[in-house]
Amino acid sequence: MQSIPQPAIRKPFMDEPNASPAPNAARPVLTKAARSADQGPCTVADPIVRAEHLYLYYGESEALTDITMDFPRNQVTALIGPSGCGKSTYLRCLNRMNDLIDAVRTAGSIRVDGQDVLDPSIDVIELRRRVGMVFQKATPFPKSIYENVAYGLRIAGISSRNTLDETVERSLKRAALWDEVKDRLQESALGLSGGQHQRLCIARAIAVNPEIILMDEPCSALDPRSTTRIEDLIAELRGEYTIIIVTHNMQQAARVSDHTAFLYEGVLVEFGPTKQVFTNPVKKETEDYITGRFG
């Protein structure tokens, strides 16, 4: 298994060739109905997010089919699955980033602390402050390091110098970037390295103090050393934030997450504690995918 570099702007439902299909893999041929009927219980005791019968259509094609699952509070949940299975799309539903794509329609509900985020009348701005996001490709703004981290606060109308200073320092420390940049906070963020960019984006997300941080393949464009740092960071943030991470890297999912959900062709195939999913999966497809027989 290896991480697959992908373009930042994903059209998740286009057919892409699978990255490295094993030559003799027997592709599981299951009807969607059969698979979703087959689903076990996907609930946890204290969920922060609960998706119920979530469907998502991209134009005419169905991209997510009847997904019902919980994300446990203050833990790390990994979404895995082959390219195009809908995991990024699913992730982007949680803070309504799919609103930016015209052709997307949804059905069902996603409740964050009981509030249905798919309800068109909710305050999306407020939601996105509660549910932060880190993208596959780091996107530092063409501003100083300081202003990058302070951005979320500034647009929320906070301009007190003390608050900003404190939050910037705390967030950068939390993102394990402070020591590297503390002497050049006013320099352009574009001068940092790729790994530093991604940590800066995490600091930027932390600065607005979200409850949930969504990470869409945050390490796929990074070298192994930067990847390790991000993974360490995720481990540190765990317990304080709910983290939902999409990853192509099985080892990464196994290392950083408490729970793992496996999606295949828009259907939630299996959800459970990571240890169980990786050592003793219930479904044959999950086992095939994890062991690299397909996907």
Binding site: A8, L100, F135, P140, P142, R204, V208
Partner: protein
């Protein structure tokens, strides 16, 4: 293929360099003081002149040489350039005491100083006529500044007051007519009183002004008696009033340093003085001012409009047949010939909006065929140019927004930014270099356009600048001068083509310099922005 592409590039470069070279070489030489030769012909006659160029008549095989001989008023045909057959010239001498005079009228004068006659200037006795001449000239100028200039200023302010009284009369008469149309008799009493009052004011001002004119003429006549006597190359003596002399020098006696000083003094005159002699002499300040101000007003009007429209097209408009049509239309707008914009500007801005303004605010003047805004002016010309350049700004703004990676928008939205915050804080700063590019193109095009200006307010000679000390200080209704039009006017509308040629080169060079320096400024700003907003990682 590589040869064809290379050759094409080389050809383009060649033509550009030739074009610039011709302008620069010719313009740079204009102010250099050329030696004045005393030409003696085989028949013994003599003439003073600057040797210019020579040509061979293809029919007769005779070589002729062209001289600038000046002294236009003395020539039977009133020409100041002559061709002489080369083999008729016995010799050319360069005597050091040849004077070149630049005058208020009739172009340059070449001659030898004979004497100074200054009956009413208080001059110290001096044996040296050259020194006496300088003394007399300085005294005459001082007297002019002390006696005549204040009179001119008074006259000009009187004429302004007279003008406003006349406008008041027009308004009162207009109101009286309207009142008469529908009101009982007696309602006009107040207006009649006002009219009588105004008539009295007008009469008084007129009398004051007439008296001043008489006084000024007297002073001028008195000062005009002070003259210097010069002998021309052919030996005739000419009396030239001192106040007519703008500048005098002796090129044959000047060292290199003096020539350089003269050169820069002439450049200074060019940049700061008003034109003389149908624009072929003197400075270009009003045209420079008009050009820069026109471009400035154009930028102020077109840039916000274009940027806002570009933002709408790029960010808010929903992609569809309508938006695509609009986009194609905007692109095509940029290709419409500028004269068409000029005609539109004349019809829409000048006659339409200007006519309406006149109708609402100055009906009495309109009724008397004295349009204020309903005639060409710098405001309408700059709005027309703004319209001409706005498509470029729209297209480049939209392009610049489009090329920003989607990740940056999403990154901003994901932090809870609204669309507007994202636009203002992230997208516009990032798009600004691209928008600057459009701005540069727009500005360069606007500064060089002449055709639309010719029907929306440019004139050969504007008596007043659009900005001056008279209330309300900025006069957007005034006509203005423009370097581009100046080139056309003096180059192709002047009766004395030879005399105006140097000025055409100088004006062209100046226009190029202004356009290039405005563009360079914008390019420098853009590269600064680029460094700020882009790096290898994006």
């Amino acid at each position: 293929m590589v040869w064809a592409t290379g050759a094409a590039l080389a050809a383009v470069l060649f033509f550009t360099i030739v074009l610039l070279g011709v302008v620069v070489v010719n313009a740079a030489a204009v102010f250099w003081p050329e030696a004045v030769g005393l030409v003696t012909f085989e028949d013994g006659s003599r003439v003073l002149g600057v040797r210019l160029d020579s040509a061979v008549n293809p029919d007769t095989g005779v070589r002729t040489v062209r001289f600038k001989t000046g002294n236009r008023e003395l020539d039977p045909a009133r020409l100041d350039f002559h061709w002489y057959e080369a083999d008729q010239i016995r010799e050319i001498a360069y005597p050091e005491d040849v004077f070149v005079l630049e005058r208020l009228e009739n172009g340059n004068f070449y001659g030898f100083l004979e004497a100074v006659r200054a009956p009413n200037l208080d001059l110290p006795e001096t044996g040296d006529s050259g020194e006496g001449f300088r003394w007399a000239l300085a005294a005459a100028r001082a007297k002019q500044a002390a006696r005549i200039v204040p009179l001119t200023d008074q006259l000009s302010s009187l004429s302004d007051r007279l003008q406003s009284v006349r406008h008041a009369v027009l308004r009162a008469e207009y109101e009286k007519k309207r009142v008469l149309a529908g009101a009982p008799a007696g309602a006009t009493a107040r207006l009649d009183a006002r009219l009588a009052d105004l008539a009295e004011q007008e009469h008084e001002l007129k009398a004051q002004s007439d008296a001043l004119v008489v006084e000024q003429q007297g002073q001028e006549a008195e000062l005009g008696q002070n003259a210097a006597v010069f002998r021309t190359g052919s030996g005739a003596t000419v009396e030239i009033p001192l106040v007519e002399i703008v500048r005098h020098y002796r090129p044959n006696a000047m060292g290199f340093g003096q020539k350089v000083a003269h050169y820069f003094s002439k450049v200074g005159e060019l940049l700061t003085e008003n034109p003389r002699e149908s624009n072929t002499e003197g400075g270009l300040f009003p045209a420079i001012f008009g050009t820069v101000m026109l471009v400035f007003l154009m930028a102020v009007s077109c840039f916000p409009l274009g940027v806002l429209a570009g933002i709408y097209l790029g960010e808010y408009a929903k992609e569809g047949p309508l938006v695509r049509t609009v986009r194609i239309a905007v692109n095509n707008l940029a290709g419409i010939p500028s004269i068409v914009y000029g005609i539109f500007g004349l019809g829409f801005f000048v006659y339409g909006i200007g006519g309406l303004i006149d109708l609402w605010f100055f009906p009495e003047r309109t009724a008397n065929n004295m349009p204020t805004f309903g005639t060409g002016g710098i405001l309408w010309a700059s709005l027309t140019l703004g319209l001409l350049t706005v498509p470029v700004v729209i297209v480049s703004t939209e392009e610049a927004l489009r090329t920003i990676p989607r990740g940056l928008r999403e990154g901003s939205y994901a932090l809870g930014a609204t669309r507007f915050q994202t636009l203002v804080r992230v997208l516009l700063p990032m798009a600004s270099p691209g928008m600057m590019t459009g701005f540069i193109l727009a500005m360069a095009r606007a500064a060089g356009e002449v055709a639309p200006l010719m029907i929306t307010g440019v004139v050969k000679l504007a008596p007043d600048l659009p900005v001056d000390g008279a209330f309300p200080y900025f006069h957007p209704d005034r006509k203005f001068m423009h370097l581009g039009f100046h080139i056309y006017d003096i180059g192709f509308q002047s009766p004395n083509v030879e005399a105006s040629k140097p000025m055409v080169y100088v004006t062209t060079m100046l226009l190029l310099v202004i356009v290039l320096s405005m563009s360079s400024l914008a390019i420098w700003l853009r590269s600064r922005m680029r460094r700020q907003f882009h790096s290898r990682t994006i």
